[in-house]
Symmetry: C2
Subunit: 347 residues, 2 copies
DNA sequence: CTGAAAGCGCTTACAG
DNA sequence: CTGAAAGCGCTTACAG
């Protein structure tokens, strides 16, 4: 015999009230069909007994688990907290729970993570894919958050526009030579950001790009970026493609006696938790995680509700690019003619 | 009539093979009772059909959802990624899924988050409580990760010992005056860390404590901490109670022309993602998240498996304190007699 | 070794 | 407005 549940079930409420389970079910689900008087009595009694509906029973009957999955390339990514929070919030508002899965490791691990979620009966999932991974359709609707330029992407921050805003900001401050500091040229996100920055440069401005991973392959992990030297070469602005790289740049410059923003400006991306806390506060560009999560969730649920067959559909959203917002703090400032090495050469 | 499932079920496999569902079930669950020959045939056929067992059916029958909940005070906490990753990993190894819930907001929100998880049928949950919150037992086993000094705690890093190690490290470097930089004196974790640091001071060493939230209430959020002034007063080491505060201290010192570690040492707690990346790399104390997660999960599952009645039990672990590990990087160094303000006064 | 049957808790057409 | 009944997919004691 199957094990008894701990709490009360519909049947217990029904017999204790001398009505049928069907009526209790109808009363509690508020589908009408029950006299308001009886419905109230049933609701009261259920509350009194501390009735908690069994998701298992409901799921089995309706075929809907009320749960979606969230697959992340690496949960320890500093961007994850905000994303997970936004997704959980949006999902909850829609009555869904969120099951997490870490696809740490290679593409195989990602596929495995997806399968685990399917086995757990998720109705759909949201995936932040590993770099350069295509999602081979799972057996449920899938929403992808990556970059608008990724094929099959559902929704993303407009990284390109974010980069553009950074460039415009630096141009307005009078910077002419920008060093873009990225991590890995294989990243779709970082490439979009670079493209955006370059697109926003005005005539007379020049940029170079430094890829940290490449440098570290030569010089060893955790090596100096040599930014003080870059300042001497005439660079006045360091536009990092993530706040993590920006932080690395900022502290290296400070350590080497380059004051920020007097002698050089530093900007980042993502507005991570410590960005407002460092001195000087980091100028950065923030994603609108709440909107991204809302769009991902609502598109996903729309697809779930229409696709009767639970197939591996890649979800599309109506709006696939969510604007990023420039946040100006103290790490970026006007080029100071008395301090700038470039200006000194010219004069 | 209930909706048909998309994929094959036991019944489909059974009829297609001309055997009973019971036999298919037994064969796939590997409980023996089926001839190896038939079992293999069934397994092959199931795989061929892409059979995925229904968690809903299984859960309804067995009363076990195979899911635990993870309740966090604030998902956007920078500590969360590592914790969630470790919990997910340990849970997965035990065959469980992890449902997340953010108790952002007040104690009521935390209670609500707990209820949501119960409604979703979790078999137990792991809670990182809000500051100074006692968990009013939910209707399932609960493991709490906070500090060993919190009543009802299941497992925690040994924050006290971590603080002690920091103090010993600074003592060995010759520091005499330590400024402890904390966020909030109400935090159990931070208090344990402070206690540990003080316990590790040697005769002749003195410490003061700066609470950032208090300072900000006076001077406004994001105000300077005035650390350069502290250096002039003779402090040579700044022991922050979190890497976030340490980063704030480090950058403020650098901005004000205090070189680290030559003129002052800075240490943190937690080994957050950027700690090895800043210049100079941050000396800190790391929690062993994997071990903490393992202990939390295994204690929780043990309780789940024994407590037949699904009551609100507070889980206890055999080991409730997991050692923290000192990670020495460049931000802490020997007191330099030629640079130290204190030394200058003395000589 | 294999199968028929009960039952976990729910919802929904259908009948009254 | 209310109830009896079927059935979602599974597992397990029991019978053969």
């Amino acid at each position: 015999m199957p094990p008894a549940r701990s709490g009360p079930n519909l049947s217990r409420i029904a017999s204790s009230l001398g009505v049928s389970v069907a009526t209790v079910s109808n009363a509690l689900s508020g589908k009408g069909r029950v006299s308001e008087q009886l419905a109230e009595k049933i609701r009261d009694h259920a509350a009194e007994l501390g009735y908690v509906p069994s998701q298992a029973g409901r799921a089995l009957r309706t075929g809907r688990s009320g749960v979606i999955g969230l697959v992340l390339p690496d949960i320890s990514n500093p961007l994850f907290p905000k994303l997970a929070q936004a997704i959980e919030f949006a999902a909850r508002a829609a009555g869904y729970g969120v099951l997490i899965a870490d696809s740490r490791g290679d593409v195989a691990a990602q596929t495995e993570a997806i399968n685990r979620l399917v086995e757990r009966g998720v109705e759909g999932m949201i995936i932040v894919p590993r770099r350069a991974t295509r999602i081979s359709a799972a057996s449920c609707p899938v929403a992808v958050i990556d970059t608008a330029s990724t094929p099959g992407n559902t929704v993303a921050a407009d990284h390109w526009q974010g980069g553009h805003d950074i460039a415009v900001h630096l141009a307005e401050l009078g910077h002419k030579r920008i060093l873009i500091i990225g991590n890995n040229p294989e990243s779709n996100v970082q490439n979009d950001r670079v493209g955006g920055i370059r697109s926003g440069l005005r005539p007379g401005m020049k940029s170079s790009t430094l890829w940290i991973e490449r440098l570290e392959q030569e010089k060893g992990s955790g090596c100096a970026l040599g930014l003080a030297e870059k300042v001497r070469e005439g660079f006045t602005a360091f536009a990092a493609l993530s706040d993590l790289s920006a932080l690395r740049a900022l502290t290296e410059l400070q350590r080497d006696g380059i004051t920020v923003p007097d002698m050089a400006s530093v900007t980042g991306f993502d507005d991570l938790i410590w960005s407002p806390v460092v001195t000087p506060g980091l100028t950065t560009v923030a994603m609108d995680m709440a909107t991204i999560a809302d769009i991902a969730i609502s598109s996903l649920l729309k697809t779930i509700q229409t696709s009767g067959s639970r197939e591996g559909v890649l979800v599309r959203a109506e709006t696939d690019r969510v604007p990023m917002q420039l946040i100006v703090r103290q790490s970026s400032g006007l080029v100071d003619p008395t301090q700038s090495a470039l200006q000194m050469e010219i004069s």
